[in-house]
């Protein structure tokens, strides 16, 4: 799944980033493999969303969120 599909309150772990123009911007602000994040708020139409990552809160649009591949924290498949 991608971060764009996440529901509010979910704990997620980043598994990879899609290789597109948002990649570097996402990495710089702290999105990279194995980082844990949780979904804090979702605006109407699922866009933008606000997540908490480490000590900070970050908002990003659906488009950008769709290039962050995540898995649920408590799923061990």
């Amino acid at each position: 799944m991608t971060l764009a599909d996440a529901e509010i309150g979910e704990q997620l772990i980043i598994t990879s980033l899609l290789n597109n123009e948002f990649m570097l911007k996402l990495v710089e602000i702290g999105f990279y493999e194995n980082k844990m994040l949780s979904v804090e708020a979702i605006a109407p139409a699922h866009d933008p969303i606000c997540i908490s990552l480490g000590n900070s809160k970050i908002m990003l649009r659906k488009n950008e969120a769709a290039s962050v591949i995540v898995r649920k924290c408590n799923s061990f498949e």
Binding site: N19, K25, P44, P48, N55, E64
Partner: protein, 644 residues
Amino acid sequence: METKKLKKILLIGNPNSGKSSLFNQLTGIFQKIANYPGVTTEKKSGILKLDEQEYELIDLPGCYSLYPNSIDEKVVIDELINHSCDLVIYAADASNLHRSLLLYTQIADCLLPNIVVLNMVDELLKKGEQIDIEFLSKELNTPVFVCNSKSGKGVEDIKSFIQKEKYLATEHFFGNQDLFEHKMNSDALNYREWHQYVYSTPNNAIIENTKRKEIIYRYNKIERILQLTTSRTALAFKRIRLTDRLDKIALHPIAGYIILLGILFIVFQTLFTLAAFPMEWLDSLFGHIADYLKNLKHQSWLKEFLAEAVIPGIGGILIFVPQIALLFLLNTLLEESGYMARIVFLLDKFMRKFGLSGKSILPLLSGNACAIPAIASTKAIPTHKERLITILCIPFMTCSARLPVYALLISITIPLKYQGISLLGLYMLGVIFALLFAWILDKNIETNERSFLIMELPPYRLPSFRNIVTNIRNAVVPFVKTAGKYILTISILLWFFASYSYQGNGVVKSDIEHSFIAKFGHTIEPVIRPLGYDWKIGVALISSFAAREVFVSTLATLYQIDSENTGTIFEKIKSQTYPDTNDVVFTTAVGISLLLFYAFALQCMSTLAAMKKETGQWKYPFYSFVVMLVLAYVSAFLAFQALK
């Protein structure tokens, strides 16, 4: 005596890292701000004076890494690459060291002498965060200072370091070997050279990927250091929880919007009601001073000059000051408390429908104070198209220079019970046309750039009193200076041209109906007659193409000269009649026509200059000017013809 070159110190850090407060603390009263307040949109420079030694301190916009995503960030990198500096003071947000240190490690690797300043550590310690400063300093291989930029605690230590110590460039954080492991395919020997190579080379997939690896590598290294040097007690999570709890409501898909509307309502209500009182006092004060001078027995041209040109001119400037101060107070409160970022979150989707971005909101709101700093603050908008559209829309917002014009016209031409609603209506008109214009532009500007918005929402905090005062002062002082220059010059010129005429053998004193200005006014009358204006309004209209606020002072000057009765300027203007028919000049139809003209016309030279500066081309200000002038003329014409 040997004259030494000023030592240059750069202040760098992430956005929201307390950099600007630190700048204010360090420069204190010796601050000389080159740009407008609000967010640091351009480099800001100040003088730091320690004993007899002076240092130039430059505050750069906040940024996250040495690979720029916006023009704002480019300013930082250009400064680092193109100019030398003696010391970098790196301001790190102690509550988010992980991210803060990313840019730091890049700067250290560029071999720039540096120190790290952890801001607000004392508050963090109280809240349960623990940082081993000494150990951190050892791990980073650079002096680490702690300070509180609100209270000023710790600032003295930094000053004494600047004054007494040698500045050293630290060792590579990202050692040479690490660098070449990642096969950066250039001839770069060190990080600085690699960065210069990357910065001057068009992006490609290999470079992108190497940058990504570099950043992750740095983050991993930072994580290791922070594991050794910081820890957190249970107490620490409380503060984070408070922001979380507030955000549960503030960012809620329904409650969030209700709160937003409430806050915007309070902001505008405060603006309209609170500023009205000091504005009235100032108006009557200057009216009385002018009357007092006029009634003096002593007769001289100096007395007339003071009473008819200088005093009304100065009054016309100072009357704005309360409103501007209040606008900047409210803007600063929204920005500093962290709520502005929540507004961006709530309105981003809505703004995108018009080709704007959530980040266009701050510039558009600042446009309610003054278009010039608003246009400069668009630098934070990352994509070119959204930024351009924002810049072109800003002049539609009701800037504070329009306010005195509105205040005057509304109070003398609109019936009392509709006065409040018409001011609100004019604000709404500005917003609606800004959005409409944006929508049209969006449909007509081609771009292949993908729009994006990734932004941090800072924790809520109480705004610092010092920052509020600095921001207000930095807004009011340049305003009075620049507006003063225009208004005073034009008032004085007007007074001369309105009091003298050319007759046969030279320039002689004459009444206003035969003066130079009347001749000019009557020449332009055919153009403005269909809008319902007499020649005096025409003169005021033309003179206010330099700056809108000149309208009031021009009318004040023209009617001050014309009228024998005493009273405030407002009363004098209201009682004007046409000499031939005795009809009132300022009827409701004329008032509405003028209000519409001022709502749309781009009568501000400084705004045009700012647009040229930010877009790099004259065609944009020219285009805006023409479009808005046509809109102003047509709407004023239609309104007058329909209402008369």
